[in-house]
């Protein structure tokens, strides 16, 4: 995509503006990448779910912030809200960044397109392939192995699982999100109930692996090509196991496995491949996330601005050639406060909107709110 074409993109809406220090969503980092894009200069609209999602208020990254209804409110409520925000902000592209949003957005992509909102997402079939209960199948595509995973529907399993050859510690996982290492049956049963309440059934149990995690993020172009890969090993973790610091690496086995995976699935859209190199040096596929990771700013930091490249792909254009990535560049995350006037917070709580007022001649803004 030429610089002029990218510069003509009016705006991009990005979800996942939550940014709790122990488990941040990727949205703020995606918005930051777009803001620092070499050619993209359109508006950035941050979409969150909670009035305390900080990205909604961060003017340096988002020109406006809006709250969305939770997916449980249904497709109609979601589409109505997007239509309202689109009328106000006129964005051309939406980049979802949360796992739980993906199934709905893949389903609604044609309706969004009718509205003039593009997406660049995997198909429903591709999305199902990366479900955690099909990890083994996916690992085969990539020439890797995957830790044994089993669906669990009753907490009683954790008290008799040793009879079936399972040992503690083990990992209790939600089908779409969340994971907890459990070292005894009581902890596992509690994790099972918590995850089931939040994410539904089935809950998964996975063998615990000892080793080192290495991750790759990239774009799949939908034709079988892996674009702009950036690999990272975590150097520091939060209590929830999320990266607090990491360093770029050049792991050829991970790269080849990811290329095979994208070629086999013809993956379309962003992805994060999470692999554990176990104590025996085997590459075990832990997860494929169908979105940018929260550490995506590292990619822009080493010259591969994948969110900006996604804008090109969404408009049917090839992104600029990616520069080589030298291993040995670190990111270190930090937490800081943003200051929010009560009036802005009130606006987000009451109307789910933070933006510069757009005054009409009668002194009211576009939504009839007195500025």
């Amino acid at each position: 995509m030429t610089a002029a074409q990218l510069a003509s993109v009016a705006g991009v809406a990005v979800t996942g503006m939550n940014a709790r220090a122990d488990n941040p969503g990727p949205g703020v980092a995606v918005a930051r990448c777009l803001r620092e894009g070499r050619h993209f200069s359109g508006r950035i609209v941050g979409l969150g779910y909670d009035p305390l999602d900080p990205g909604v208020y961060l003017e340096q990254f988002c020109d406006a912030g809006y709250l969305l209804p939770y997916p449980s409110a249904g497709d109609e409520a979601f589409l109505d809200r997007i239509a309202f925000i689109h009328d106000e902000q006129g964005f051309d592209l939406m980049i979802p960044t949360l796992d739980a949003e993906l199934p709905g957005l893949v389903r609604l992509a044609p309706k969004l397109a009718d509205m003039g909102v593009r997406t660049f997402l995997p198909s429903a079939t591709q999305l199902e392939l990366r479900n955690k209960d099909r990890l083994g199948e996916l690992a085969e595509h990539a020439g890797m192995i995957a830790p044994e995973t089993k669906k669990v529907t009753q907490a009683g399993f954790f008290y008799r699982c040793q009879e079936e050859g399972w040992t503690y510690p083990l990992v209790v996982k939600g089908l779409f999100y969340d994971a907890q290492v459990a070292r005894d049956p009581d902890t596992a049963a509690a994790a099972f109930h918590r995850i089931a309440a939040q994410w539904g059934f089935p809950v998964l149990v996975q063998r615990f692996l000892r080793g080192e995690e290495v991750n790759l993020t990239a774009l799949g172009d939908g034709e079988g090509n892996l674009l702009g890969p950036v690999m990272m090993r975590k150097l520091g973790l939060t209590d929830k196991g999320k990266a607090w610091a990491g360093v770029t690496v050049q792991d050829d086995r991970l790269l080849e496995a990811s290329q095979s995976l994208v070629a086999a699935t013809r993956w379309r859209g962003p992805l994060e491949v999470e692999v554990m190199v176990d104590d025996e040096g085997r590459y075990q596929l832990i997860e494929i996330n169908p979105r940018f990771p929260a550490w995506i700013y590292l990619a822009a930091g080493v010259g591969r601005n994948l969110p900006e490249a996604l804008v090109s792909l969404a408009f049917g254009q090839q992104p600029d050639k990616f520069i080589d990535v030298a291993p040995g560049t670190l990111f270190i995350r930090y937490a800081q406060e943003t200051i929010v006037p009560l009036s802005e917070y009130e606006s987000v709580v009451m109307r789910g909107v933070r933006r510069q007022p757009m005054p009409h001649a009668d002194g009211e803004d576009a939504t009839g709110v007195q500025p």
Binding site: G246, V247, V249, D251, D252, V277, G281, P327
Partner: protein
């Protein structure tokens, strides 16, 4: 025991980024560690492909230590090095 059993794999040694300060970075695993001045000399010579026997002879010229003591220290060093870099 020959060098291939004692030393880290040649490909692993070759990829290490070794700074003058003694900071060593493995670009494949992301691991980093620090070696002292003597370790830096040993590591650089190993990276250049120097066999252990030649390395020990060379060190005898530079360091005032008994050959057996020198050999023991070098073996201990390469043992630690293997643990640090040879996992992958």
């Amino acid at each position: 025991m020959d060098d291939s059993e004692r030393l880290p794999r040649r490909a692993v040694l070759a990829r290490l980024a070794i700074s003058e300060s003694g900071f060593v970075f493995d670009p494949t695993t992301g691991h980093s560690f620090i070696v002292n001045e003597t370790g830096l000399v040993v590591l650089r010579r190993l990276q250049a492909g120097s066999p252990m026997r030649d390395l020990i002879v060379t060190l005898q010229d530079d360091y005032d230590a008994a050959p057996a003591e020198l050999e023991r220290d070098v073996l201990e060093f390469v043992g630690s090095l293997r643990k640090l870099v040879d996992a992958q």
